[in-house]
Structures are given as structure tokens and as C-alpha cells.
């Protein structure tokens, strides 16, 4: 037998043996050991190749070719074995890692914003998007800002209707808890003028207000948002435009609005604003007392006496103003039946209704 034939036989034997070894390896590390044994630097194939030197130069290329072929073959076999084994092990691992997806997820305790806060934030955001600036004012107010400057002189019947909380005397003038956010109108205008500005002035003023009234439908503390704008030729039509836009934006649907003439000392003309009932879409239900309309806020054109009280010329400028009760808006939007729930602060309620 020629030298080549012997080597060929050897290579064949190695190939068959290696293939069997690869196939029978029980895990990846054994497989790798087998690879080293046959294909490694000191492996069986290398051993065979060492014998190439003994061959005549003309035989060397032939046996080189054969060796390479065997090596390629074994490499391929190894890779296939490895892939098969990885697959098999992978399946085992996947099986071992199987979970019950119906087990409850890990819950980290989360917080909630109070529904009234949500209402305040949403309402305020609508107005800032419409170009109104945010203003704040004190809750402990003097009678000038809460009443007089708003055209409610002491003998005025409306003043008695305000259910005012008075504070025990501690300053040189009588102080009250503000009964509405309207005094912010006065304060914002005063500040604005003091800074040397001239209208237009457009303000949204959210805040807490107080009325000495406590029953099923009244809370002694609640929240209002005051909105007003002063400019040349501001009209009732502008007021209606803003009302329509904001009410539709807040309730998330196009709502019909209705203005009914009413009376507030600080506006002239004054109007109560109704919206088409958000619960029955105006068809008539218990909440709207079958009328299809729900009263949501009071509004009007700022009374010239109010503008005068801060020194704005009512011949040149006019304005609109309105104030709305935040709790009422939230109750309507979220279908909350009882005002008192807001101040009970039951976390089950807050979790369900807050965000």
C-alpha cells in the first residue's frame, strides 16, 4: 500500500471516530473536548499532518487536499452537533424556566393625584393653552378685595348671601376667608398695572375658597377657577366663544351651551351658563332634572365699577369674567354623586378616581 493510501485510511478512520464522538458527546463541554481531541492544535488530524513531511513533494498537495477535506467535513459535523446540542439544552432550559403567566405581577405601590387636583390641572391647562396666564392670591382676604372692589358694598344683599367666614380680629381691618376666587381679578389687575403694563390681560386663577355652609351638597372649603380677560372691545360674543371652547375641551366633546341672564354684582350683563347634560346628552335624566341642561358656572362682562376700582378706563377697555366650581366640574365629568367624597379622602376612592 502506498504511503498515501495508508494516510487516507488513517484519515478515514479518524473521521468516522470523530463523527461518532461528536454525536455521542453528552454535553457541550464534552463536545468541545472531542473537538480539541480531533481538530485541536495537538489533535488527531494534526498528528496525521505531521506525517505529511515524510511524503514525496509530489504527493504532498494531494494528501493536503484530503486532510483539508476531512477537516472541513469534521468542522461542519462539529458545528451541527454543537447546534443540535444547544437546541436541545435550550429547550430544557426553556422548559425549566417556564412560568405561570397568570400569577400576579409585582406591584410597587403607586400614588394618585386627588381628583380635584386633576380637575384643577386640566382646567388650568386648557386656559394656559388658550393664552391665559396663571395668577394666585391669598385665601385670607380683606373685605375690599373680596367685596368692595367687586362692586359689592356692605349694604348689598349679595354680600349677605355669601355665607362668609369672618376671622377673629387680628389686624387693623376685618379679614375674611375669601368666598370666591374673584378677588384674584382685582389683585392680578392691580399687579399688572403697577408693573406698568397696559391691557390685554388674560388670567386664569385657580384656588381654594370658603363658604360657611356645610351639608350634603355644600362643603365649607372648595375650589374655584376664575378666568378673565380685559382688552379693547372684549365682547359677550368672546365670552361665549371661550366658554364653548373650554367646556368642550374639558368634557372632551362638542357641547351645546346656553347662557341665561342672571345677576352678579361684579358683572354686567351677567349670565348663568348651562351645558347640555353630559350624562344623557341633553335627552333628560335625573341629574339634569329632565331639562337636558346643567348649570355649570356664572359669567358676565366685567362691571365698569370693578375696572374703575383698579383704575382701568371702562370707556376704552372691557372684559369678561367667569368663575367655576372645580368639584362640580369633576363630579359631572367623572360621575361622582357626592361632594363629600372629595374631602373624606378615602384612599379607595382616591385610587379609583384620581390619577
Amino acid at each position: 500500500m502506498s504511503q498515501i493510501a495508508v494516510m487516507e485510511q488513517q484519515l478515514d478512520a479518524i473521521k468516522e471516530e470523530a463523527k461518532k464522538a461528536f454525536k455521542n458527546a453528552s454535553d457541550l463541554s464534552q463536545l468541545d473536548q472531542e473537538r480539541v481531541k480531533y481538530l485541536g492544535k495537538k489533535g488527531a488530524l494534526t498528528e496525521v499532518l505531521k506525517g505529511v513531511g515524510k511524503l514525496s513533494p509530489e504527493d504532498r498537495p494531494a494528501i493536503g487536499k484530503i486532510v483539508n477535506k476531512v477537516k472541513d467535513d469534521l468542522d461542519r459535523t462539529f458545528k451541527i452537533s454543537q447546534a443540535v446540542m444547544k437546541d436541545k439544552l435550550g429547550l430544557l432550559r426553556i422548559e425549566a424556566e417556564r412560568v405561570d403567566v397568570t400569577m400576579p405581577g409585582r406591584v410597587t405601590s403607586r400614588g394618585y393625584k386627588h381628583p380635584v387636583q386633576n380637575g384643577l390641572d386640566e382646567l388650568t391647562a386648557i386656559f394656559t393653552q388658550m393664552g391665559f396666564d396663571i395668577a394666585q392670591g391669598p385665601e385670607i382676604e380683606d373685605e375690599f378685595h373680596n367685596f368692595d372692589a367687586l362692586n359689592i358694598p356692605p349694604e348689598h344683599p349679595a354680600r349677605a348671601m355669601h355665607d362668609t367666614f369672618f376671622l377673629k380680629e387680628f389686624t387693623d381691618r376685618p379679614m375674611v376667608l375669601r368666598t370666591h376666587t374673584s378677588p384674584v381679578q382685582i389683585r392680578a389687575m392691580q399687579r399688572f398695572l403697577k408693573e406698568g403694563n397696559e391691557p390685554p390681560l388674560a388670567v386664569v386663577a385657580p384656588g381654594r375658597v370658603y363658604r360657611c355652609d356645610y351639608d350634603m351638597t355644600h362643603s365649607p372649603m372648595f375650589h374655584q377657577v376664575e378666568v378673565f380677560k380685559v382688552d379693547r372691545d372684549v365682547s359677550l360674543a368672546n365670552l361665549k366663544g371661550v366658554l364653548k371652547h373650554f367646556l368642550s375641551a374639558y368634557f372632551g366633546k362638542e357641547l351645546p351651551i346656553r347662557l341665561r341672564p342672571s345677576y352678579f354684582p361684579f358683572t354686567e350683563p351677567s349670565a348663568e351658563v348651562d351645558i347640555g347634560c353630559v350624562l344623557c346628552d341633553g335627552k333628560g335624566c335625573r341629574v339634569c332634572k329632565q331639562t337636558g341642561w346643567i348649570e355649570v358656572l356664572g359669567s358676565g362682562m366685567i362691571h365698569p365699577n370693578v375696572l374703575k376700582s383698579v383704575g382701568i378706563d371702562s370707556d376704552t377697555y372691557s372684559g369678561f369674567a367667569f368663575g367655576l366650581g372645580v368639584e362640580r366640574m369633576v363630579m359631572l365629568k367623572q360621575g361622582i354623586p357626592d361632594l363629600r367624597l372629595f374631602f373624606e379622602n378615602d384612599v379607595r376612592f382616591l385610587g379609583r378616581m384620581g390619577s
Binding site: 349694604e155 350683563p269 379622602n345 384612599v347
Partner: protein
């Protein structure tokens, strides 16, 4: 105010249906709170005549009545009321009647006696919310007649809310005027021939000393009156309008007030002494009001007085002794104009409200003063007999509420309303009593005496708006006006992100709650008229409110709560006061719930601290926590002040067990509060490139004294660590076996990093050695094996 449709129609011949009239009323500014539709519900309730009244044999409080209702046999009725007597006429609900409250009348036995019907009060007939017994019907009511028809209950009644500016519409006449003007229908003529005076009756002596309070006062004597119940039609009107009949004369005057808006009063002249004057009190006089209240009058009340006593608080209420009763024979009628401001002032002195004062305060129509006097006289003479003297007139109607006509550019109205106003609308205003003329864009408007609410062009714009209807005004967005970016406050969002539930509690608490966390140093702000003791003082801390809320929730099976509130605290500050914007937190009970993968854990100081640190970090701030054993209401050893720079911005700690106990909270309660007004501006995050080279973390465990403060330890670690050290923190704390008493084992983890290279073993060994040496030197703290 209740407006019966038939009464309204006696002033204006409206032909529209009830719903349409209601719509017009609303558009004109008279809110319709409800319409009581024809009350078929009282069908079957008939006029009964009590012919016999005996006590129930078996029950002290019941009576056994025999009641004639026009059938063959009188009915036997068991009745629980006590205000009726034999001969009275009362409403009887017969068997089968369904009352407005849904009650169906059946034959029934009450304590052994069979009752064949029920005698009714105003409540059962749906006429009132309360009553003092059976409704006693007029003596001339026909027996057996349907009570609903008799009382005019078959018709619609509008329940109106009249705004306080429209005193002129607190009468059927005033509302009729608005509706007539609006519809173009004629307003009925109510002029009346003056009653001829009986010259044998002396003119009353009347003088007005307080012209500022009373510019016009009419008085007239009527003698020989036989006061009896008023006739059925008057009673029916009063009941339909929601008033209870009193006696003949008073009923007539009340009806005229409701009809014309002019309140009147009648004095028993036999009880008067000498001349009558309208004057201002100088203080100290006593007065017994018709409602039974005994008052001592202060200085400045507007009153009507005779020569010995005050006989009426003008326009508010008469005195008891001078009042008209069933036995009165001679009376003096009063019809006057009392000025709104003065009536309001006097009324407020005594906290009184009456139908009369409500009208005078809002302003009555000076033109009605004389009309009402003639109508009342006519009706009283017709109904109760008697002879009337001449009217004594003091002052005059001219000049009352007289205003200069308004002149202005008509464009002012159109600009304010944002709509064109057709000239045809002027006629409606004219029918309302305004004098309107337009020429070349100029407008001239004279204001009628009954419109106390109108004085400037804007008031006229409202008149146009309600005549045209607000619906006709288009919706038109104004141009945007803003200048500044909206400053949004995220304080609550940050706390909510840390797992807190936002609460909103009342700004007023009880004084006892205030004392838990605030000293009694005179800086409380107290309410003059609190709802209750529990809401008597403005809070100086958010904690009492949160404790109350924690109790509410813990009592309802919550294992733990995490609450946060943003609001204000209030306190006196020298001569003035301060409102602080605050954030307040509370944690108590289990804050980590029982889940399959975790165990329950209750809140402790460091949960609270972590929450506050996290909130501060969200605002770009860090604070130092300095132990303070003297925070009122917090437990010594677990309380601290929060410092930023040199100022205290807040407090944190464990609530005293006694306070938690007071709130029935059976868990440790931790609280914190920050004054937002003293917080400095937070650091704005600046861009920094992320590190290119990996950092190295090392842990070292030392044995410290228990008194060593972590703040000082970490400071020393940072110093010893030098420039490479980017972070150092405590990762482990252990006390117990293997750690001697008075010692604590603390594990310190620090991170080293260099922006320009990867660190070597040598670097970290060097830093570790420096830290070990520093701990040894500064704290005498050995490295733990």
C-alpha cells in the same frame, strides 16, 4: 317666589302654554326653578265641615271627628291633629284618593276606631314642607267642593328665583310687566278711583324725621272694621303663592304686596299713643317684634314710632302690641317708601329677614305706594266693612330714585355684546318703562323709578341682551394674549411618583388638634363664625388633617397609608399674618404589601426620609437632616429639622405615640412638612458627558461607635477618597452577635472613576488604604474581618 299662572294672567293676557312662558321667563333673567303643574294629585280631597269632635276612647292624642262632606252621611274620621274644632272647615281626603306624596287613602282601623278618610295639612296636600296642624279652610268654603279647585291648585305655579337686583320683579305685576313688554301684549290697567274719605275720621298725625331713610309715607285710618277670615279667593291666592293665611286684614295686605311688590302694614290705632313719626333711633329703646323677639334697639335703626314706643322696624316688622288681631276694630294702614340702604342696615343689626324687608332692600316702585294704599282700602272696606279717612301724605314720590337720563354711543352696546342690535328692540325697552331715543348713533335712555338696578350704559346693554336673548349672541374666540410661559407646579406630581396618595383636607381644624404640633403662643388665626369646634382655627401644620385621614383609612382595613397634601398653613405674624405654601407627608402602617414574592414591611423613619429626599431631588435640591429632639408632637430621637444652607425648610419625624393614640392609629406614624415658600431655587441639570471608562466599586466594612454619625463618616470617606471617588454610601448596617456593645458595623461602598482612563488594581488599592487609614485615625474604627 311662586307665581301662579292665573294670577299672572290677571295682569297680562298671555296665551302661550306653560312651557313657553317658562322659556320666556328664563330668557328674561328669571330663573324657573320648577313648575308645579296642575295638581290632579289632590283630586278627591273635598271641603269637610267638622260637626262633632270627641276624644278617641283609646288614645290621648287622637280625636274622633264627624265630618260633613256633602254626602248623605257624615264621615267618621280619626285625626291626630289638635288645631281644629267643631265648626271648622278642613280638607278631607276621601277613600281612594292618592295624595301628592303617594299615599293612597283607604278605610282603616286606628286603635279600634274605623276611619273613613283623612283630614289634611298643607304638607299632605303638597303645599308646604311643614305645617302646624290641619289646614283650616275659609268659613265660606262650600262643603263637599274639591279643595284643589277652591284653592286654585288646579293651575300651574312657576317657582322663580328672583335675582337680588330685580326688586321690581318680586311681584306678580313686575313679572307681568317684563312678559308683556317682551310679548307686546297689553299690561292690564290697575288704576283705581281713590276711596272717598269719611270726614268724620281724623287724619293721622305723621311726621318724617328721617328723610334719608323714608322719603314718602302714607297713612290712613279705617275705623269700625270687623276682622274675620279673608275670603276664599284671597286665601287661595296666598296658598298658591306659598303663604299661609293669618287674618283678614293681614291677608289683604300680603296679597297686595305679592301683587304689586309694595309691602304694607296695619297698626291697631287703639294701641297707639299720639302722633306717629319715622325716625332714627338714638339707642336703648326696647322693641317687641311680631315674631316674638324682644330687642333693645341700637343707635341708627330706622323705625316708625308713636309718642311712647317704637311700633315698627321700618319696612321690616311691626311690634307685637300694635299688631292687628281678630279683635281689632280701628286700624291705620301704612304704605311707604323706605330706602334700601337704611332697611338693609337696620335688618342686619338684628339678623332679621321678612317678605317686606326683602322688597324694600331691593327697592320698591315709588309709583305703587299710593296705588297699593287705595287697593288695600277698597278691599278692606268691601270685605270687612268700616269707614276710611283721608290719606295723610308725608314726603313725595317725585324724586325718589330719579336719575339723569343716560346718553351714550349706541356702538358701545353693540361692541360689548358683539352683535348688531336692531332698532326694533327699542320698543321692548319702552314697554318696560324706559324712555328710549336714538339718533345718529347716539342713544338717550331715561330710567323708570322701579328700576333701581339700572344706572349705567352697561345696564342698558343687559336689557338689550335679555330681550334679544343670549342665544342670539355668536360664539367668537378672542385673539390669544399670552406673554409668559405657563409656570407649572409639579410638587404634587413628584410626591405621587414616589407612591403617595394626594389628600385634600380642610384648612380649619380644632384648637385641640392645633395644640398637638403648634404652641399656644397667640399666633393662631381663629374663625369668628366656625361651622363647629372641629373647624375653629386655621391650621398651622398639615399634619392634623393627614392624621384624621389616616385614621379614616386605617379604620377601613387599610394596612397602611402614604399620604401627601399640598396646601397652605396660616398664622399670625407680628401685626399681620402669613399664609405658607406647604407640602405635608404622612406614612404609617404597612407600606410594602403582602405579596407572594415579598414580605410585609411597616414604615419607619427612613422611608419618610427617603421620600422627602427623593422629592427634594426632583426639585434639584438636597437638604441636611439635623436631629432635633424638641419638635412639638414628634418623638425625641426620631425627629429632625431639614436645612438647606442656613435656613430650616421643614421638619420630619415620628409622631408622638400619645397623638397617634388620640387618632386611634395602632401603628407608628411618620410625618414630614416642607415650607415651599422658603425653598431656594433648585439646581438645573447641566449636560455632562457619560463616562467612557468603567468605574470600580469597592466595599469596606468598619466597626464604628454607635455615636458616630453616618453623615460625618461619609464626609471623611469622600475626603480620603480624593478625586477618583465619585460616590460613597452605606450599604450595610449591622448590630448584634459579633459586634460589641456600643458598636455598629457599617459597610461602606464607594465608586471610583476617571474620565480619561480605565482604573487599575493599584488605583483602587490606594484609595481603599487611604480610607481605611482615615477611618482608623478619625473614628478609631477598625476594618472588620
Amino acid at each position: 317666589m311662586k307665581l301662579p299662572l292665573s294670577w299672572l294672567k290677571s295682569h297680562v293676557a298671555l296665551t302661550d302654554d306653560v312651557a313657553t312662558i317658562a322659556t320666556h321667563l328664563v330668557r328674561l333673567g328669571h330663573e324657573v326653578e320648577g313648575v308645579e303643574e296642575p295638581r290632579s294629585a289632590v283630586k278627591g280631597v273635598r271641603v269637610g265641615h267638622i260637626i262633632e269632635k270627641k276624644p278617641h276612647p283609646d288614645a290621648d292624642k287622637l280625636s274622633l271627628l264627624k265630618v260633613e262632606i256633602g254626602d248623605k252621611q257624615p264621615l267618621t274620621i280619626v285625626c291626630g291633629a289638635s288645631n281644629m274644632g267643631e265648626g271648622d272647615k278642613v280638607p278631607v281626603a276621601t277613600i281612594g284618593t292618592t295624595l301628592p306624596n303617594g299615599l293612597v287613602i283607604k278605610q282603616g282601623k286606628i286603635r279600634g276606631e274605623t276611619s273613613f278618610g283623612m283630614c289634611c295639612s298643607e304638607v299632605e296636600l303638597g303645599l308646604a314642607d311643614e305645617s302646624a296642624g290641619l289646614l283650616i279652610l275659609p268659613g265660606d268654603a262650600p262643603v263637599g267642593a274639591e279643595v284643589g279647585e277652591l284653592l286654585g291648585l288646579e293651575e300651574a305655579v312657576f317657582d322663580l328665583s328672583i335675582t337680588p337686583n330685580r326688586g321690581d320683579c318680586m311681584s306678580v305685576r313686575g313679572l307681568a310687566r317684563d312678559l308683556a313688554a317682551d310679548s307686546g301684549l297689553e299690561l292690564a290697567d290697575i288704576s283705581i278711583d281713590p276711596v272717598p274719605a269719611d270726614s268724620s275720621i281724623a287724619l293721622p298725625h305723621i311726621s318724617i324725621a328721617a328723610v334719608d331713610g323714608c322719603p314718602l309715607y302714607l297713612g290712613r285710618r279705617i275705623e269700625g272694621v270687623k276682622v274675620s277670615d279673608s275670603p276664599a279667593w284671597i286665601q287661595a291666592r296666598l296658598i298658591a303663592a306659598g303663604q299661609r293665611p293669618v287674618n283678614g286684614v293681614v291677608d289683604v295686605l300680603n296679597m297686595i304686596m305679592l301683587d304689586l311688590g309694595q309691602p304694607m302694614h296695619a297698626f291697631d290705632t287703639d294701641s297707639l299713643n299720639g302722633a306717629v313719626s319715622i325716625r332714627i333711633t338714638s339707642g336703648g329703646e326696647s322693641f317687641e317684634a311680631l315674631d316674638g323677639r324682644k330687642l333693645t334697639l341700637p343707635e341708627g335703626d330706622l323705625v316708625v314710632a308713636d309718642e311712647s314706643a317704637v311700633i315698627a322696624l321700618a319696612g321690616i316688622m311691626g311690634s307685637e302690641p300694635s299688631g292687628v288681631t281678630g279683635t281689632t276694630v280701628n286700624i291705620m294702614l301704612e304704605s311707604a317708601f323706605f330706602k334700601p340702604a337704611k332697611v338693609s342696615e337696620t335688618r342686619r343689626h338684628h339678623g332679621m329677614v321678612s317678605e317686606a324687608s326683602m322688597r324694600f332692600e331691593r327697592g320698591v316702585d315709588p309709583a305703587m305706594v299710593a296705588v297699593a294704599m287705595e287697593q288695600a282700602t277698597t278691599l278692606i272696606l268691601e270685605t270687612f266693612g268700616g269707614r276710611a279717612g283721608a290719606v295723610s301724605v308725608s314726603g313725595s314720590a317725585g324724586g325718589i330714585n330719579a336719575k339723569e337720563p343716560l346718553t351714550f354711543d349706541f356702538s358701545r352696546i353693540e361692541k360689548r355684546l358683539g352683535i348688531e342690535v336692531p332698532e326694533s328692540t327699542d320698543a321692548v325697552l319702552s314697554r318696560m318703562g324706559f324712555g328710549v331715543s336714538r339718533s345718529q348713533g347716539k342713544m338717550r335712555v331715561s330710567i323708570p323709578g322701579h328700576r333701581h338696578d339700572v344706572s349705567i350704559p352697561e345696564d342698558i346693554s343687559e336689557e338689550y341682551a335679555r330681550v334679544i336673548g343670549f342665544d342670539a349672541v355668536p360664539e367668537c374666540l378672542p385673539p390669544l394674549a399670552t406673554t409668559k410661559p405657563a409656570a407649572v407646579d409639579h410638587s404634587i406630581d413628584y410626591a405621587v411618583a414616589d407612591g403617595f396618595v394626594q389628600a385634600i383636607s380642610y384648612a380649619f381644624i380644632s384648637e385641640a388638634e392645633q395644640r398637638m404640633f403648634s404652641p399656644d403662643d397667640g399666633n393662631d388665626i381663629l374663625l369668628e363664625n366656625p361651622i363647629s369646634e372641629a373647624m375653629a382655627v386655621m391650621r398651622r401644620s398639615g399634619w392634623p388633617g393627614l392624621l384624621g385621614i389616616a385614621r379614616h383609612n386605617m379604620n377601613r382595613q387599610q394596612p397602611g397609608v402614604m399620604l401627601v397634601e399640598q396646601g397652605r398653613s396660616y398664622e399670625k405674624n407680628g401685626d399681620g399674618h402669613r399664609e405658607n405654601n406647604i407640602m405635608a407627608w404622612l406614612m404609617c402602617g404597612e407600606i410594602q404589601s403582602d405579596q407572594w414574592h415579598t414580605t410585609v414591611r411597616s414604615a419607619d423613619f427612613f422611608d419618610m426620609k427617603g421620600a422627602v429626599e427623593s422629592w427634594l431631588a426632583s426639585n434639584g435640591l438636597t437638604a441636611r437632616f439635623m436631629a432635633n429632639d424638641d419638635v412639638q408632637g414628634l418623638q425625641a430621637g426620631q425627629s429632625a429639622d431639614l436645612f438647606i444652607g442656613k435656613s430650616v425648610v421643614g421638619r420630619i419625624g415620628k409622631v408622638d405615640a400619645a397623638i397617634a393614640d388620640h387618632y386611634d392609629i395602632d401603628a407608628s406614624v411618620f410625618v414630614a412638612e416642607i415650607n415651599l415658600d422658603v425653598l431656594p431655587e433648585g439646581k438645573k441639570a447641566k449636560f455632562q458627558p457619560l463616562p467612557e471608562f468603567p468605574g470600580v466599586e469597592r466595599d469596606l466594612v468598619f466597626l464604628f461607635d454607635r455615636t458616630d454619625r453616618v453623615e460625618a463618616i461619609l464626609q471623611a470617606v469622600r475626603k480620603a477618597g480624593g478625586n477618583l471617588l465619585t460616590d460613597a454610601r452605606v450599604f450595610d448596617r449591622y448590630v448584634g452577635q459579633g459586634v460589641p456593645d456600643g458598636k455598629v458595623s457599617l459597610g461602606v461602598r464607594f465608586t471610583l472613576q476617571d474620565a480619561k482612563r480605565t482604573l487599575t488594581q493599584k488605583d483602587s488599592d490606594g484609595v481603599s488604604a487611604a480610607i481605611v487609614a482615615a477611618m482608623e485615625k478619625i473614628f478609631n474604627a477598625p476594618l472588620r474581618g
